[in-house]
Symmetry: C2
Subunit: 506 residues, 2 copies
């Protein structure tokens, strides 16, 4: 094994087609495109949430890698037979869980072009187009959102495409931390305090853990029904004052536009006003709902963003761009660069030395980076602002349709709680069925499980103010009104069947 002799025994010497042979690429890739097109054609027929049991795949696949090659035809058969049953179909029109992962043809094609070029765009010289297209497209999208010019390259800020919001928060938090520690001394790291609400995404806590914030200085400020679960500026101020009195140093606030559980909206302007008094870095996490702000009628949700230091949204959630594509804008790129840059000899080059270029490696966690801007560029150009707005509005309208359907059923009509939980941004619904008691929570938990076990639709849950709520998030690209109506009928049927055996509220 391993000698030239064994190599010959492999039977491969000189006979192997180059693994990037253009004509073989063409043949096989056309085959896979047809496979995926057929998948989309049939995706509504699969159980939305995978119905497999833990460990299903190990029983079906060999324990070791194959020594000899297997044909792409064989592999595709295995994908169909063994992988597809274990896929939870985020692209199904009957997918209403978590948040959408809204794929599109343009997004897919952009990803293909990116994989085709397969460049490693860590700095400008490694592939100038990768950096420059990202500069341009991030300015385009920033303009579409009407972000203040200070967030754009044209205004001395700038945008960068990260993988996910977790990375965006981690980068900005690191920059904020170092900005403060450079003033007060690194030995004071244990005095730094990070603020969010009890509705803030777990990405904030994780980032705080990673950058070394003492978790006893992590503030998940309680929200209430009275503020529709948005973070109250008064609560923030009270907490900050307590911290300052205790000798701690307020560092970072993550405000959210469209929280994960119930799409609550934190009031940016007054929060930024509070933060400004204490020199706190404000990051705005608009991972999900941010996309909608390209529609003039929803733009007001980010009113006050001019007071923030950074803003991010996930184009891979609800902007028709395949995973991953988190768009982050910052007012002061030098803060990122100062914390995240390294300058090894092997990456030195004249373009960098000229200071006329952006080297995105210094704006993010990783060195290597994909040519992600291609997919965002294709999505924006191929649909245009007009269609993108149209798609987003159609989802909002479908969510409103679902809301009307729920309201029309007396057994489950939106309760007082529902009205409070009603999201500011109406695409994601948190429907609390029946009444408030814990027995009812359990009833709803089991009802949701029975809906998901049917495979006909997939919804997830939230708990807010002690209430277990079923969430219905419209945003899968293939979803049409008829899917929403069928889903509602199915919920009613499951409820009906369930009521014959479970009657907790009589």
């Amino acid at each position: 094994m391993g000698s030239l002799t064994s190599d010959q025994l492999d039977g491969n010497s000189g006979l192997v087609i180059n693994p990037l042979d253009p004509e073989e690429f063409r043949r096989q890739a056309h085959m896979v495109i047809d496979f995926i097109a057929d998948y989309y054609k049939n995706v509504d027929k699969y159980p939305v949430r995978s119905q497999v049991e833990p460990g299903y795949l190990r029983k079906r696949l060999p324990e070791c890698a194959p020594y000899n090659p297997e044909s792409m035809e064989t592999i595709l058969q295995d994908v169909q037979e063994h992988i597809v049953p274990g896929v939870t179909h985020w692209q199904s029109p009957n997918y209403f869980a978590y948040f959408p992962s809204s794929g599109s043809i343009a997004g897919f094609l952009g990803e293909m072009l990116s994989s085709g070029f397969n460049v490693v765009g860590f700095n400008w010289i490694s592939s100038p187009a990768a950096t420059e297209l990202e500069n341009i497209v991030m300015d385009w999208l920033g303009q579409m959102l009407k972000l203040p010019k200070s967030f754009l390259f044209s205004g001395n800020g700038g945008g960068v495409i990260q993988g996910t919001t977790c990375e965006a928060i981690l980068c900005t938090l690191t920059a904020a931390r170092d900005r403060v520690l450079n003033k007060i001394g690194r030995e004071n790291i244990s005095k730094l305090v990070v603020y969010g609400s009890d509705q803030t995404h777990c990405a904030l806590q994780k980032a705080a853990q990673i950058v070394g914030i003492d978790l006893k200085n992590f503030r998940a400020i309680k929200t209430t029904k009275s503020s529709s679960y948005g973070l109250s500026p008064d609560s923030l101020l009270t907490q900050i004052n307590l911290d300052v009195e205790a000798g701690l140093v307020p560092l970072f606030l993550c405000a959210t536009i469209g929280t994960t559980a119930i799409t609550a909206v934190d009031p940016l302007k007054p929060l930024c006003d509070v933060a400004k008094q204490f020199g706190i870095w404000v990051h705005v996490d608009a991972a999900y709902a941010g996309s909608a702000c390209i529609c003039p009628e929803f733009q007001h949700f980010i009113d006050g963003v001019e007071g923030a230091d950074s803003f991010s949204l996930n184009a891979h959630k609800w902007f028709f761009t395949t995973l991953d594509c988190c768009c982050l804008w910052v007012k002061d790129p030098s803060a990122l660069v100062s914390s995240l840059s390294t300058n090894p000899e092997y990456l030195k080059n004249k373009a960098t030395e000229s200071k006329q270029v952006v080297d995105y490696k210094d704006w993010q966690i990783t060195l290597s980076r994909r040519f992600r801007s291609l997919k965002l560029w294709l999505v924006i150009r191929n649909y245009g602002v007009a269609n993108l707005r149209h798609f987003l509005r159609s989802h909002v309208n479908m969510a409103k349709l679902f809301e009307r359907l729920v309201a029309s059923d007396k057994r489950v009509s939106p309760s007082a709680v529902m009205d409070k939980l009603k999201p500011k941004y109406e695409n994601c619904h948190s429907q609390q069925l029946v009444t408030e008691e814990e027995a009812i929570n359990e009833f709803n938990r089991e009802l949701l499980e029975s809906i998901n076990a049917s495979g006909k639709a997939y919804m997830t849950h939230a708990v807010c103010g002690g209430i277990y709520a079923m969430r219905f998030a419209v945003g899968a690209t293939l979803t049409e009104e008829r899917h929403v109506m069928v889903a509602w009928t199915m919920v009613q049927e499951q409820l009906e069947a369930f009521l014959t055996t479970n009657t907790p509220f009589n």
Copy 2:
């Protein structure tokens, strides 16, 4: 704008094809496949390193996003006309710079399937196949590398696919940090010391910065010619003893198999022996050269890995898997989980509660994650262990060919320095041309620039022991012997032309 009226003015109401329509997908995707196949057919004709000037693209693209949709045909024309000139062609057979980004048909098709399903596999339930295939494939690849069973799921360790080595190091360093701080108290973070060599990749320093290691406690231990620029265990021990005497706490060592500048190899076994005495977490960064260790004749480069805590390689570098795909194995997954887990209500589910499943969100920085294992699975199956070894060996043989060509030219024959710089792992050459003086360094710098400016090949440089060296890294998938020979002839011609106007060594 934004009212229903303006929506109708957009002319889109009800007339728009769904952005994931299967037949439109099929039509457009076939078109893009042909575009990419043609790109591969012609890639050897483009200047390898892009020849554009900073700012070239902003002059060519509109300042704002288009309001109305544009056809994919128009966009592809623009890709050809405006993007391709700004691409540095990592897939060109004449690409010998940095490290390879070795694409393949199977890797590309795996990425396509992953983009097609477009699942967000943060935990098991979100797409069981994404998690389980990753478990299986990481065990497969671990076996191919003959990693000790303690790194495999079958031995209570386990593997995870991260984006890049930067993330792999950041995750393991965070886990190591918390394991120690939980014992000695978080207030002692400023006492922690991180070790590497002056050849270690900048990812280590960046990760140290992010997790809050005081940079005065970051040790880039000097390497020398006498150890072929590998990290000396004696030097490590001496430094650790100094640190311990100073009241500091040794935390983490990153050892490298195939350093970035000159593919030096750190001696794992004795380094791990030293580290063990002090309870230091050892991470092995085999980002580039690790792939070759699936060939029995190269496997010895990771001898001693059984003493390490974690090991990573980038399948997107030299394992025919498109960017990004960093394979990380750890002996103690619970250390990662303990540092990186969060448990928000909206992600709670029965499978997680059963503790029968892996939730990869707790093994990495980000929550959202792509179905990356598909591409690794397709690469391993479609080529088989046999062909993968064959491909890797053919690259090594081409590098040896280049070495012989260099040796045959008296003007540039490998000097004594070259012999010292000669990498342990021979695929990446660092060729030092002519003599050692600074004037010669400058001569070589300019010679390299003239080679790269020709567009006929792309090579990069390293500086090691004060010597400026031109690197010639063979690994692009399309590279054949004839490309290596042409590149060498071109280097000779450039040198000849250069010598007529520049004669620093007479």
